[in-house]
């Protein structure tokens, strides 16, 4: 099999429809007789509901229904929980975990601003919103938990009284003797770093439509989600229907970034309302709802300490981590353990001691967002490595050179399990080579010389480096069904949904190569539970490896069926059959070329005597990924800091990365650019801010600042390629990587720029007032 498309920058096949305005997003779907939903949401962070009066809303003409918890109680089972501890992990790490499933609609208590208290259905969205404002709710405020450290104290008010405290999760792990390592170290540095709440913020908000068909008892829901099968499973549990009676479709989805991989109350409330009202129901989230009701992310505090010899050799890392989970621990082990597993990254460190606490607060629940624990942990590690460099009087690049792992170290085991319970063994890569490639690409010595020259002119330029190693493509599986139609064109169905990553192109590249047909003959269907019964979804940089491997293997099996049919038809040995460009031929006999359609026709009993072979050109594979593949990168940020205004200008940004074998280079580059932009947002602009009453202060795009084209430079990329031995095509995941290092690289650069002031950067975002504050402190 030749790779005709794999590795080529094929133009994306989905683009023309988007460019013409012919995409179909949830909000573009209209059904006859459709009602529109609006929600009444809590203005309090924590309160008891003492009364709800819905009559004023019901009285408004055009209002069809007003529902509270009691009206929908039969379906109000707790929402699905994620992040159970796999056996391989619990065997080696003692984790204490408590999870309470959120009710889709509050019964008698609200636990964060924006939680849903009532729902209105009306003939138009505007009417529904008018009516929602007329619903009167009496609240009795309860104590709030606005700060994660305070919430973890023994004397804090308790959100779930049955727990006795607010610690939803705790564990301690590590390897080697970190205590001894720190004792032996010539130099030790320690700091507390804070990673704020910042979020995915897709430009398309969430939306759900549901339609109940009483004819066959089938529910269809269009949902702008990254995980149609998870949404389906949640509905199965709540509605008591078999999965095949619940079809969940993610049409075109306008960005996800993890925010849309979470389970949400509306996933259930809209279908429940459609069943209760016997009318199709539509809900499109507005931006304000998105800010308070869609999952938040990041929000960690690290007390980290590192010890090293005088020559820079790292000996030990100790870290104590607080993760602010928000009001519900929906994601269990995922964020806390990701944080711990990725702390050391590219560094060789002989001992580690880390303790992690997941703490509930009265804020919007925390869920994975592009990087999911990794940007946080890399921020803590790369900041403390820079502090160590300063304490040692070493260049931060040289300190990393001394401690980064190389290809000779691979495979390299970190002696803690990965989050999937398997041993944490880096499969391939050369992190020092990545560092050298990045430093060469920016001409690091020249940058340092220029920095010194500029400093004399009063310009404060800083250079920051950050590196990470990222477990990508977590399993357990993603499947694919590949089948030919009578013309020999192929349909590829997979549970991996697309939110802009180009699946319709890159998956088709894999299938076309393996089948021996033109790319244009392949149609990729993702995001439809009716197309494939089992699926996981798109998140965690997992789709290329998991779905891509299944597509490759299933296409190979279909090709085998084509070869068998062609061999029978052409009376040749299967070993001599070639499939290429949608035709079969016998090797060495060009005149034998036969269109695929003719081979399929010959296998049809009606047409060809008894049929030369079985009329079956379909295969399904659920590729099992044994454990994750390890992507890595080194980022370099160059900033100028205006000490008069506090403004930070990002001058250059470079990424040298390895994601194994690349399906489509231009798509990979686009993924890196987008990830970096989100990371730059976290470094310079973005924070979900709460006041001491746990009231959300950032409810609009005027308060929550997303980077524009003016805050970002061109993003330079260097591709390194260390194929993974863990899947047939040697791929690794790339979706999240770009977002991991920018906050650390930028913070390192800003502290470097302000070194002469002795400024200490301990948190992001580094907006002007924060930077001026740094100068004031020093």
């Amino acid at each position: 099999m030749g790779a005709k498309y794999f590795g080529a920058s094929v133009r994306r096949r989905e683009d023309p429809r988007y460019l013409r305005g012919e995409g179909r997003f949830v909000d573009d779907i209209k059904l006859p007789g459709m009602l529109h939903a609006a929600f009444v949401r809590s203005p309090y962070a924590h309160a008891r509901i003492t009364a709800i009066r819905t009559e004023p809303a019901r009285a408004l003409p055009g209002v069809a229904h007003v529902y509270t918890f009691a009206d929908l109680e039969r379906w109000m089972k707790p929402l699905p929980l994620f992040g159970a501890i796999p056996p391989g992990l619990s065997a080696r790490v003692a984790v204490t975990m408590r999870q309470v499933g959120q009710l889709a609609m509050c019964r008698d208590e609200v636990r964060h601003v924006g939680e849903i208290v009532a729902m209105v259905l009306a003939g138009s969205r505007a009417l529904a919103e008018d009516a929602a404002e007329r619903v009167q709710v009496d609240y009795e405020p309860l104590p709030v938990l606005a700060d994660v450290i305070a919430a973890a104290q023994p004397d804090a008010p308790v959100l779930y009284p049955e727990w006795g405290d607010n610690i939803a999760l705790s564990f301690r792990t590590g390897f080697g003797d970190a205590e001894a390592g720190l004792r032996e170290a010539h130099v030790r540095v320690r700091e507390r770093f804070t990673i704020p709440r910042y979020v995915g913020m897709p430009i398309e908000t969430r939306g759900v439509i549901a339609q109940w068909d009483p004819r066959d008892g089938t529910l269809t829901s269009w949902n702008g989600t990254q995980v149609v099968h998870f949404v389906q499973q949640g509905l199965v549990a709540a509605l008591g229907l078999p999965p095949h009676k619940i079809r969940v479709i993610a049409p075109d989805v306008g960005g996800g970034f993890g925010t849309k991989a979470n389970g949400y109350p509306e996933d259930l409330l809209i279908p429940a309302a459609a069943i209760a009202s016997r009318r199709p129901v539509k809900w499109i989230e507005d931006r304000r709802e998105h800010m308070m009701g869609s999952a938040h992310a990041r929000a960690q505090v690290h007390d980290i300490e590192i010890g090293a010899r005088r020559d820079g050799t790292m000996l030990a890392v100790r870290d104590r981590i607080w993760v602010d989970l928000g009001a519900y621990n929906s994601w269990g082990i995922v964020l806390p353990y990701n944080t711990v597993a990725h702390l050391l990254g590219p560094h060789r460190v002989p001992s580690l001691d880390v303790e992690c606490l997941g703490v509930v607060t009265t804020k919007t629940p925390n869920a994975p967002y592009r990087g999911a624990g990794r940007p946080e942990t890399v921020f803590a590690m790369d900041r403390i490595v820079d502090r160590l460099a300063r304490a040692l009087g070493m260049d931060p690049a040289d300190l990393r050179r001394r401690n980064y792992l190389t290809e000779a170290d691979m495979p390299y085991e970190l002696h803690i399990p990965y989050r999937d319970g398997n041993p944490l063994v880096y499969d391939s890569g050369d992190f020092r080579a990545g560092l050298e490639a990045a430093l060469a690409a920016v001409d690091y010595p020249a940058l340092r010389a220029e920095q010194a020259r500029l400093r004399e002119q009063g310009i404060h330029r800083g250079i920051g480096i950050s590196g990470y190693v990222e477990g990508t493509a977590i399993g357990p599986y993603e499947g694919a069904t590949v089948r030919l139609d009578p013309s020999g064109h192929a349909v590829v169905a997979t549970g991996a949904c697309c939110q802009g990553q180009g699946h319709e192109t890159s998956f088709a590249q894999i299938a076309a190569d393996a089948l021996g047909i033109p790319l244009e003959w392949v149609t990729v269907v993702g995001g439809d539970t009716a197309a494939i019964p089992f699926g996981v979804g798109t998140f965690a940089s997992r789709s290329a490896v998991n779905a891509g491997s299944s597509i490759h293997e299933a296409s190979g099996r279909v090709r085998d069926k084509i070869v068998a049919a062609a061999a029978a038809l052409l009376e040749a040995s299967p070993a001599d059959i070639e499939v290429s460009d949608g035709a079969v031929s016998v090797r060495g006999a060009p005149g034998s070329a036969t269109p695929l359609a003719a081979v399929i026709r010959a296998a049809t009993p009606t047409f060809a005597r008894p049929g030369v072979t079985e009329l079956d050109f379909e295969a399904t594979v659920y590729h099992h990924q044994p454990t994750v593949t390890y992507t890595s990168a080194v980022h370099v940020a160059v900033v100028d800091v205006d000490t008069g205004t506090g403004a930070v200008t990002l001058r250059r940004y470079l990424v040298a990365h390895d994601c194994g074998k690349i399906i489509n280079p231009v798509i990979v580059e686009g993924q890196i650019h987008g990830g970096v932009a989100q990371g730059v947002g976290g470094g310079l602009l973005e924070e979900m801010v709460y006041d001491e009453q746990a009231q959300l202060l950032t409810g609009t795009f005027m308060d929550y600042l997303v980077p524009t084209a003016m805050e970002l430079p061109d993003i330079e990329t260097v591709h390194l390629e260390y194929p993974s031995p863990r899947n047939p095509l040697g791929m690794k995941g790339i979706g999240e990587g770009g977002a991991i290092s920018p906050p650390a690289a930028i913070a390192n650069a800003v502290e470097d720029a302000l070194a002469s002031f002795g400024a200490k950067v301990t948190r992001t975002p580094l907006g002007p007032s924060v930077v001026l504050g740094l100068l004031g402190e020093s």
């Binding site: 013409r20 939110q499 084209a709």
Partner: protein, 163 residues
Amino acid sequence: MTHSIRVTVNGQEHARAVEPRQTLADFLREDLDLTGTHVGCEHGVCGACTVLLDDEPVRACLMLAVQADGHRITTIEGVAPADGGLHPIQEAFWARHGLQCGYCTPGIVMSTCAFLRERPQPSREEIREMLAGHLCRCTGYHFIVEAIEAAARALAPPPPRRP
């Protein structure tokens, strides 16, 4: 209570009765079924809903349908030529990977149409400044900037022939 309005959208005239509070974005999407105009924030920041009003870019979420009475509107559905091909700006976005999820794309294409008419040979800085009126969460803008540069080259009049 409704008001009667008359608008020309993508060359076609429409006379409709609209509620005074209906936004232009909702009018285009719901009353005219032109769903290519996307709504991202409804408070005038993200730019996804940008359309051209008498050839000038406007935020369709910040304008009421009644304010469009008597005006000429172009939406993303009116950009491509009738022969089924793509406009050079759309072609450039496709060639340079200037979009990912495609949600912000229609608004950016509309702004680019107006921008390149006014500044046929923009600098990169000018392109970035124009783009700052739009939020894209997928691309980091890098390939969008390149796409607009490529579109400007494609739209430039051919050099004068030598005598």
